[in-house]
């Protein structure tokens, strides 16, 4: 059957943000090659690209490119989150990069391209587009992981991330192929139609395919037991890049997981799947939180903290109701702002990108650098999940949806995990404000951009914690794009 596809301008408007990011990235790489003197303006150009991409993201909901891409309030939400993460990483990270003279055009280019892949992945209505987006996203990050290529740690991080990423991609492809083999389609909408009202998930072949997909996405989410790359990569990767990698891709992976699960089980998850996801959530929360207690390197600590946080997110996945998805979206948005805040502050309150980021180096920095110290303090409070921060509301809505669905024990695990997490989050605050300075720490200069990033993240963490309605409304609108059962 010959295939003819009519493309209209609406098709291109649907991916306009991606196109703009790609173009901005290209421009920066070319400028770096032919007009090196313009380097100081790169962050501004990149930011301009992000802002324009944000304004161009006003497509009408619907299916585009012959049903391969679906634009909705959900994808708009993800666009917003991604661009937000990009903007914060660029604002806060530029000072760190320029200190080591590492603010090349490629850095911004790779970051923007990676982000465009991420947005494409969520827009994909076809598993192959999802795969394509995921790979585009990952390739940029592989290179960024090894950005300080004269440092053994960075090269190690890049190499490990690449190898493990390739391994997980193989699983994803295997899963997609198996699903295609069983169902005869890779389109999510078609799959949902074929699955009908009864869940076909008890079919062993299909189950194997889905398990492979869960494992691959679990790798991106760094859920235990697919987490082992995270501490090394976090430790070796440069701060602005890890601030991005540790947030936006995880949000995207979680959302894609919801979409795939919905396509294969439109009537709700059945018996083996809810406990399965719940087990992943439980071991991630417990393992991440307990091991984080023993960490003395801040980036490694944040890696294990991220494992635990994604465990909380997995509670939302296991619950799998409309409420849970809303809660999950809110939680991910809050986590995004908070974690970026934490990383940027850790980057500024250290000897620089080339040395380790030890906890002891934070001693007494509260007085020296109150700005980033407060950012880090509030970020730690938000990660712990205490009011009045966004982290509190995020956990509240996710846990509430889980209790609603009868997953009380899972909520208790979550609360217990949060209790353990106080130990290491609070230790950071303790070192910042209550310890006398130890060895001399050579802090990088702060500039206007990083000042702006502090204000943004502080406002984000506090305002969304005190008056979360606007974001909750956005999350609700976004969640309605995926038709999940309201309650079982």
């Amino acid at each position: 059957m010959p295939i003819s596809i009519q493309l209209t301008s609406a098709d291109f408007w649907a991916v306009a943000p991606e196109l703009i990011l790609v173009a901005t990235g290209l421009l920066l790489v070319l400028l770096d090659a032919f007009a090196k003197f313009s380097r100081p303006s790169f962050p501004y150009i990149a930011l301009a690209g992000v802002v324009i991409a944000n304004f161009s993201s006003h497509y009408t909901p619907g299916k585009f490119f012959a049903g391969a891409i679906e634009a909705s309030d959900l994808t708009r939400f993800v666009d917003l989150l991604t661009l937000m993460a990009l903007a914060l990483a660029i604002l806060g990270g530029t000072a760190l990069l320029q200190r080591d003279n590492k603010g090349h055009g490629e850095f911004f280019g790779l970051l923007l391209w990676s982000a465009s892949g991420l947005m494409l992945m969520v827009k994909g209505n076809d598993l192959l587009i999802v795969f394509l987006g995921l790979e585009l996203m990952s390739f940029g990050l592989y290179v960024l992981a090894a950005w300080y290529r004269e440092l053994p740690e960075a090269v190690e991080a890049g190499m490990k991330y690449f190898l493990m990423g390739a391994f997980s991609s193989a699983f994803l492809l295997f899963g997609i192929a198996t699903i295609y083999g069983r169902m005869g389609s890779t389109q999510l909408a078609k799959l949902a139609e074929l699955s009908g009202t009864h869940s076909p998930l008890l079919d062993p072949l299909l189950a194997l395919g889905l398990l492979a997909v869960i494992a691959a996405l679990g790798f991106k989410l760094s859920l235990v037991p697919f987490h082992s790359w995270a501490p090394d990569v976090y430790q070796g990767m440069t701060t602005p890049a890890i601030a991005f990698l540790s947030t936006a891709p995880k949000a995207a992976a979680a959302i894609v997981m919801v979409r795939v699960l919905q396509a294969l089980a439109p009537a709700g998850l059945g018996e083996p799947w809810t406990p399965l996801l719940a087990i992943l959530a439980t071991i991630s929360i417990l393992y991440g939180n307990v091991v984080a207690l023993a960490q003395r390197d801040l980036k490694r600590m944040l890696a294990y903290s991220g494992i635990a946080q994604m465990g909380y997110a997995a509670i939302g996945l296991a619950t799998f109701t409309k409420d849970a998805f809303e809660g999950l979206l809110f939680f991910l948005a809050g986590y995004l702002i908070t974690n970026i805040a934490a990383f940027l502050a850790v980057g500024v309150l250290s000897n620089g990108e080339k040395g380790p980021h030890t906890l002891a180096d934070l001693s007494g920095l509260g007085k020296k650098r109150p700005g980033p110290a407060w950012v880090l303090t509030i970020a730690m409070i938000s990660l712990t999940g205490l009011p009045p921060t966004v982290g509190f509301i995020g956990k509240l809505v996710v846990f509430k949806a889980a209790v609603d669905q009868g997953l009380v024990w899972l909520t208790i695990v979550g609360v217990f995990g949060s209790l353990i997490s106080v130990g290491y989050y609070l230790r950071v605050v303790y070192f910042l404000w209550m310890k006398e300075p130890g060895r001399e720490v050579n802090l990088p200069e702060e500039d206007v951009l990083s000042g702006a990033s502090y204000l943004l993240v502080m406002a984000g963490m506090l305002i969304l914690g005190i008056a979360p309605k606007a974001l909750l409304d956005l999350a609700r609108a976004a969640a309605s794009a995926v038709s999940l059962a309201a309650l079982r």
């Binding site: 190898l163 492979a212 494992a215 501490p231 023993a294 909750l472 609700r476 309650l487």
Partner: protein, 751 residues
């Protein structure tokens, strides 16, 4: 004016004060630690030096008087502003509390509550449903009713007194502005806690006061013991908070709302439905675990004595008068639930159930037992402490136990009455001890005091009055409130707990008179030099002391029992609206005691208190070391050692939870991590470092300019090769593969 207009301002004033004090402090201190910053513009260098000086002196104590008596003047930037802003912010909130109470009284005659909704915090939506029809929504809203009126009244008033006192007490401290910022923030949180119209806002205040408590305990953060004490308090409180959060969730699940009015109306109307299966009891016990953390009850009490590492005004305000009573307040606030739990237990088990059965069915029974046992247990520890603040700390734990005993006996009014009277005399005792410590330039050991009676006359007199009050001497405040609790305990069917509480009253009288005798009577036991420095505190400190001592005398007259006065107990009548009647069949038969019994109970406790006072007076007369207590300690060396060391509870916790559980388990997981992850990383690092040397040489020689790209590929490939050879990445991949196998296995088992 209406009460609605005043309410939001009550917490707002301290918050504004916090912002001003905090910002000024940050502005004047932000560059202090920075070695590169230009020095000396405001004399900061000098202020900084006094840290080291301070740290060297009297380790292990509230390090008050850093500059005082040791020479060295501390220059405090914006001192005048801090001295004004802190007390005024608190004073305004006190004024507005009074205005709000008056307006509320005029509008409602004290019969029902007024709620002000500020904005919706967590909005309800079509999808945020809870059991179908019910939606969870909670607002940022304040309410005023008899209970809140009472709390905001004394919290803001005593808070203001302590702010004024601190102007004198903290006057030599380098962190003056920081102190007032924290103190104002505490006032804000505490007022939010008591004003909150739902469990959510209460929780916000609850966490806020916990945070301020943590910050103020660790106020002298340069000292490890203060920072450790702060951490201990925070951890203990978090354990309690897990209970609180579970209770909050339980309430949401049961009622679909956490608004007090709606929750309690629903519960009072239909107790049977909610009590079925012990749901209410579970929620109550969860909430009570939270109260145990905040109000330092067994087994979570160990943080409070350590909290004495904070400055003394903090001990008086937070760790005696206000914050620690938040648990009692919360239990009294939720009295409907505790009453339902009790009635349900009686209905299911019958009148003559065993103690064990009652403990598993009746939440109020648990409250009573924990309160009674804590009261006794802490009082025995107080007998053998020689640090003046530690004695008062254990006394506080013990008195809090009394309050819970009252609430657990379903005499919530009596429990709150003791909260009220205790706030006056205990704040006075703490501030008095602060004044003594101030006079002795930081000395806290009673073994090094003595004979101060005439040297610090105001401090002595006010402390003596408060000691009489706490000992239960008739016609002072503590007598009325303690007696109300004892009587209710006996009448409501806890004779054993009553006996324990009466015994505790005797112990209390004994250790308090021991404190007074050791501090103010006999010969001074310090050095001559110290004696020469002793002086009475300034007026900013003695005036608050006298006001509090006045309160310690008269506060009790608000609640004179009916059998003495002949007319109704004014306190109980005032609080009546917060105890709504339950549905028919759920109201207990009121226990009516004969007047003779009530007089008899009262006489018993007076006699026991008298014996305690007499023994305390007699044992601690004569020359130091005192003969009789020494003999007793000598005769029972084992018992003395246990009591003196607080029954080794701290050590047991440390051994069991910190060493065994957390360290071992954490260590185990860390080992796993180290074996499989860190070890591998280290191994590969040696290889890659070698590689890096080669490649940097490669970089220099071949790779300048145009061949960058090619070199990148070569390097990366080369290092990738090395990395692969090290074996660890396979380890990761293996872990992932096993993970998938695990998932498959779980899938097969589950389906």
């Amino acid at each position: 004016m209406k009460a609605e207009t005043f309410l939001p301002w009550i917490p707002l004033f301290p918050f504004i004060g916090f912002l001003i004090n905090g910002l000024l402090y940050l502005v004047s201190h932000s560059k202090m630690g920075d070695k590169d910053a230009p020095k000396g513009s405001h004399g900061h260098g000098e202020g900084h030096d006094s840290h080291g000086h301070d740290a060297a002196s009297h380790d292990g104590h509230d390090s008050h008087g850093g500059g005082h008596g040791h020479g060295g003047h501390v220059d405090i930037p914006f001192k005048a502003v801090h001295s004004l802003v802190g007390p005024i912010a608190s004073g305004l909130s006190c004024l507005f509390s009074l205005l709000a109470i008056l307006a509320w009284w005029q509008e409602t005659g004290g019969h029902h509550e007024i709620v002000v909704k500020l904005w919706t915090w967590v909005p309800a939506g079509e999808n945020l449903t809870w059991f179908g029809a019910k939606t969870l929504e909670f607002d940022v809203a304040f309410r005023i009713d008899p209970l809140t009126a009472l709390m905001i009244g004394f919290v803001s008033f005593i808070g203001t007194l302590i702010h004024v006192y601190s102007v004198g007490y903290m006057g030599h401290d380098e962190g003056y502005g920081r102190f007032f910022a924290y103190l104002n923030l505490f006032m804000f949180s505490m007022l939010v806690l008591v004003l909150g119209a739902n469990l959510g806002i209460l929780f916000v205040g609850w966490e806020g006061v916990g945070l301020c408590s943590y910050l103020l305990i660790g106020y002298y953060y340069q000292k490890d013991f203060a920072a450790d004490a702060g951490k201990k308090a925070f951890v203990m409180n978090r354990i309690g908070d897990v209970g609180f959060i579970l209770g909050l969730f339980a309430c949401t699940a049961m009622f679909g709302t956490i608004d007090f009015t709606k929750m309690f109306e629903a519960a009072a109307k239909d107790p049977g439905t909610y009590a079925a299966g012990g749901a209410v009891t579970a929620a109550c016990i969860a909430l009570f675990i939270g109260a145990c953390g905040k109000s330092a009850q067994i087994p979570l009490y160990v943080w409070l004595p350590d909290a004495m590492a904070g400055p003394t005004p903090v001990s008086a305000l937070i760790h005696a008068a206000t914050m620690v009573t938040a648990g009692v307040y919360m239990v009294a606030r939720c009295n409907v639930l505790f009453r339902i739990s009790h009635e349900w237990a009686v209905k299911t088990l019958g009148e003559n159930a065993s103690v064990f059965a009652m403990l598993t069915h009746d939440a109020s029974y648990v409250v009573a037992v924990v309160g009674g046992v804590t009261a006794f247990f802490a009082a025995t520890i107080g007998l053998a402490q020689t640090d003046i603040k530690k004695v008062l700390a254990y006394s506080t734990v013990s008195q809090l136990g009394y309050m819970f005993l009252g609430c657990g006996s379903l005499a919530f009014g009596a429990g709150m009455f003791h909260v009220f009277t205790h706030a006056w005399f205990k704040a006075c005792l703490f501030l008095g001890s602060g004044s003594v410590i101030h006079a002795l330039s930081g000395e806290q050991e009673m073994t090094r005091m003595g004979g101060l009676k005439n040297l610090v006359p105001h401090t002595y007199r006010t402390m003596f009055i408060s000691t009489l009050a706490i000992a239960g001497v008739p016609f002072l405040s503590g007598f009325f409130s303690k007696d109300a609790i004892l009587a209710e305990t006996f009448i409501n069917g806890h004779p054993i707990l009553w006996a324990l509480a009466v015994l505790t009253a005797g112990l209390t009288a004994f250790y308090m008179f021991r404190l007074v005798k050791m501090t103010f009577y006999g010969e001074f036991r310090g050095t001559k030099e110290e004696l020469a420095h002793v002086h009475e505190s300034p007026a900013t400190m003695t005036i608050p002391l006298w006001i509090l001592a006045g309160g310690a005398i008269v506060a009790g007259y608000l609640g004179i029992p009916k059998f003495i006065l002949g007319k109704e107990n004014a306190w109980e009548k005032f609080l009546e609206p917060i105890f709504p009647p339950l549905a028919a069949g759920w109201m207990p038969e009121p226990h009516h005691a004969s007047h003779a019994l009530e007089w008899g109970l009262m006489m018993t406790s007076v006699v026991v208190a008298g014996i305690g006072i007499a023994l305390g007076w007699a044992f601690y007369s004569g020359a130091y070391p005192f003969a009789t207590p020494g003999k007793i300690a000598g005769a029972l060396p084992g018992l003395y050692r246990w009591v003196r060391n607080k029954y080794f509870v701290d050590e047991a916790y440390e051994w069991l939870f910190v060493d065994r559980l957390i360290k071992k388990f954490g260590r185990f997981l860390w080992e796993v991590d180290a074996r499989f992850v860190d070890g591998a990383v280290n191994g590969s690092r040696h290889l890659t470092v070698g590689g890096a040397h080669v490649s940097s040489w490669f970089d220099k020689v071949f790779v300048d300019g145009a061949v960058n790209g090619v070199a990148n590929v070569l390097q990366t490939a080369w290092r990738g090769h090395r990395s692969l050879q090290s074996g660890q990445t396979q380890g990761y991949a293996l872990a992932m593969t096993f993970g998938i196998f695990g998932l498959v296995c779980i899938y097969l088992i589950l389906s």
